[in-house]
Subunit: 444 residues, 2 copies
């Protein structure tokens, strides 16, 4: 047993989990290491941030998912460094793990265009803690608006700026529009929640800029129908406790908003950055790590990088996007490549990504789809979105829970998980002031 090929997988997201599953019957000892004990279904994280789902409903314990895979060990650990010459990964607690093949699937983290101080006032959506922080900020803003007496102050509490008009930004904005118009209806006595102003800021000329142009326009129209304002072609130059500064064709502007949410830049994970440094791997735009056609690192044929942080050229030459499908297919590919090499193969066919298309949801019966060679929007796109997301939810139990939650939300517009919780809850309520992210609360 000891002489079995040792495959170490870093990260239990889509890339890592699908790699591990593909090694189910492998003649190898597999070790999956993650800082968290659960796989997170990240595409639905915005629904945690907007009170529709609970974190537990979009998470599945890695151990439980892989329990019957006897060749696989799951370890809780934080990989912080690597000695690629010695085939060794170093953990933060001083432990070390040796590998024969390494699959790096540590994902991406949010990046603030070089302004790390913005993070403290504009949480993003990368972890459960960040999602509950966003939820806290959104729900607390309405509570504070009920408590405050000054009209200008109330408007600032009821103004929500979302930086970034990609899928996450659009989904957040649409959900916020529904919260203000439907979920919170009749719940306040001093103002009408529909008065809330929701503004999406993006530097691109249109939202969902990686989608076909007509779908972008449909998405924008659907957002407008929910009362969301879209400001494209503007560049954010400042974020603080009281609002956001941006520059556009009309010059510099200031938006007074006590709630600023970040759905813009990403960068490779901390481990990915260390890996690039230690192996001398070249990096591309947004710091993505350039890989060989078989997803290995130049000079290290036993180190695979999959998912968000790998720079993989697609059909048209542009880099593949950081979406679940790319990670899922990359993880599976890397696992099969390891298997083939264990089996003695010298030539491995290059990774070939089969796009399943793009889907973004804006609200009830509001979505855009570019799949199966078809472009469509509205109810049909929304139904496809619902179906696809329910099907990919890892655990059957979660699927039923989410179905129940969504069913109720559909019938009542209510949201099942509207909690202001977390370390910061007491602070903000004490002073009626905007929540400040604390480093320790958020992690990467």
């Amino acid at each position: 047993m000891e002489s079995r090929h040792r495959v170490v997988i870093l990260g239990g997201g889509f890339g890592g989990l699908y790699a591990a599953k593909a090694l189910r019957n492998a003649p190898a000892g597999v070790t999956l290491i993650d800082r968290r004990n659960f796989h997170l279904f990240q595409p639905l994280l915005y629904q945690v941030a907007t009170g529709s789902l609970s974190p537990g409903e979009i998470a599945a314990p890695l151990r439980s998912v892989l329990r019957n895979q006897k060749n696989t060990t799951v370890l809780l650990g934080d990989a912080v460094d690597i000695e690629p010459g010695a085939n060794r990964v170093l953990l933060r607690d001083g432990g070390a793990v040796e590998y024969d093949s390494l699959i790096v699937a540590t994902g991406s983290q949010s990046a603030y265009f070089g302004h790390d101080s913005w993070r403290e006032w504009a949480p993003s959506l990368k972890s459960v803690e960040e999602a509950t922080a966003v939820r806290h900020k959104i729900l607390f803003a309405f509570e504070a608006a009920e408590r405050t007496e000054g009209p200008a102050e109330r408007i600032a509490w009821l103004t929500f700026a979302i930086v970034g008009g990609g899928a996450t930004g659009v989904e957040l904005a649409g959900a916020l529009g529904e919260i203000a118009r439907r979920t919170l209806k009749d719940e306040f006595r001093k103002f009408r929640p529909e008065e809330a102003r929701i503004i999406v800021l993006d530097s691109a000329p249109r939202v969902l800029s990686s989608y076909p142009e007509d779908l972008s326009h449909k998405a924008e129209q659907q957002l407008i129908d929910l009362g969301v304002r879209v400001r494209t072609g503007v560049r954010v130059v400042g974020v603080d406790a009281e609002g956001v500064d941006f520059e556009g064709p009309a010059g510099k502007e200031r938006l007074a908003a006590k709630t600023v949410l970040w759905a813009a830049g990403v960068a490779p994970s901390r481990f990915g950055q260390v890996l690039a440094e230690r192996t001398g791997a070249p990096t591309g735009p947004r710091g993505k790590i350039a890989v060989n056609p078989d997803l290995t690192l130049p000079g290290y044929p036993n180190i695979y990088v999959v998912g968000d942080q790998a720079l993989i050229p697609g059909k048209g030459g542009e880099a593949l996007p950081g979406v679940a499908q790319v990670a899922i297919q990359g993880g599976g590919y890397a696992a099969r490549a390891v298997l083939k090499r264990i089996g003695g193969a010298r030539e491995i066919e290059p990774f070939h990504y089969r796009s399943k298309g793009d889907l973004a949801v804006i609200g009830r019966a509001k979505a855009v789809a570019d799949i199966w060679g078809l472009k469509f929007s509205g109810l049909a796109a929304w139904l496809v979105w619902l179906f696809v997301h329910l099907m990919y939810i890892v655990e059957f139990q979660n699927r039923v829970l989410i179905f129940v939650q969504w069913g109720f939300e559909y019938l009542t517009w209510s949201r099942g998980a509207r909690l202001i919780t977390g370390a910061a809850a007491t602070d903000t309520i004490g002073g009626l002031k905007p929540m400040k992210n604390r480093e320790a609360d958020l992690g990467e």
Copy 2:
């Protein structure tokens, strides 16, 4: 409108929420103030702590529950002081709220027999944050046991001490027994989870000491069947990161346990303590506030105290316990008393508690019941427990979600919300060390 009688309710737990609901059609302006935006179904909090349910599933937004009650305003605020002469409650952010009648339902907090330093190593079960902290500690202990190499170290990680053998302690211990024996089965490679040692420590001669003696013995037997060890007649004298010290008939003992959970003493809320001071109300055992037969404070006929922190003599003269039923009935009574006084009544019939009996659950098909004049245990008691708890869950949506979660747990022994999250997650994983409670994370 401005001359309406102003009823202020502090706290949105069972007492406060049922008081507010009873004032639905009152010719009065009602203001409900809570530090949280949600009602928490506290009897199921131990299921959050043991990974069966998500916090959102046992919480209902107060605003949403009371949305159609037009005479009622819900405010997020932290009441920290009172000027009983001026009929004014002071909030932590500097705000003040005036009342004509005040219903105080701010509940209890955990107390550590005067040793506040124990809190940092032994979280209790009073808030959502504490429940997720307990969940963190329990799940992390098994993870650390998989990572550690030393046998003594592993045993300490696999030892769980629960201080207190009342309903909460017994429920926690039973759930832990099932986690170790069933939920985590086959999930670890270095040890068998059934090796975990779960020990309940109580100073009373038996667990559930307020229950009839034969039910206590049945409960103890059911715990033993789940592998739990019960140590009664022992007094805890120390808690630290590595274990617990206690004294019993056999002298002083030390139990090496990296996980210590607190299910013992409670004390009135911080506001309750301030209230007693400002009004000179006498306090009894455990700091409970003595009230008149109509639940008002001596000398303050417009201030009612209901729920956990009120000292109310029961039939036999002993104080009513801090359970949901006492709070629910007290809240409803106080609301009706206020209404009668608005209507001109001079004489108010004293509060009379109708006990609905006692129920405690240990595990699947394991429970004890003392209701409807009957004492029984096992499957029947468990089914009654399930039914009663599902019926009392405030929102219909939650009821269905919990039913689904429980249904799956029944079929598969899996638990739907096994997440290690929170501010402390990164710390502990970094150093493989037990989690330390941080003041800010826990609140009261």
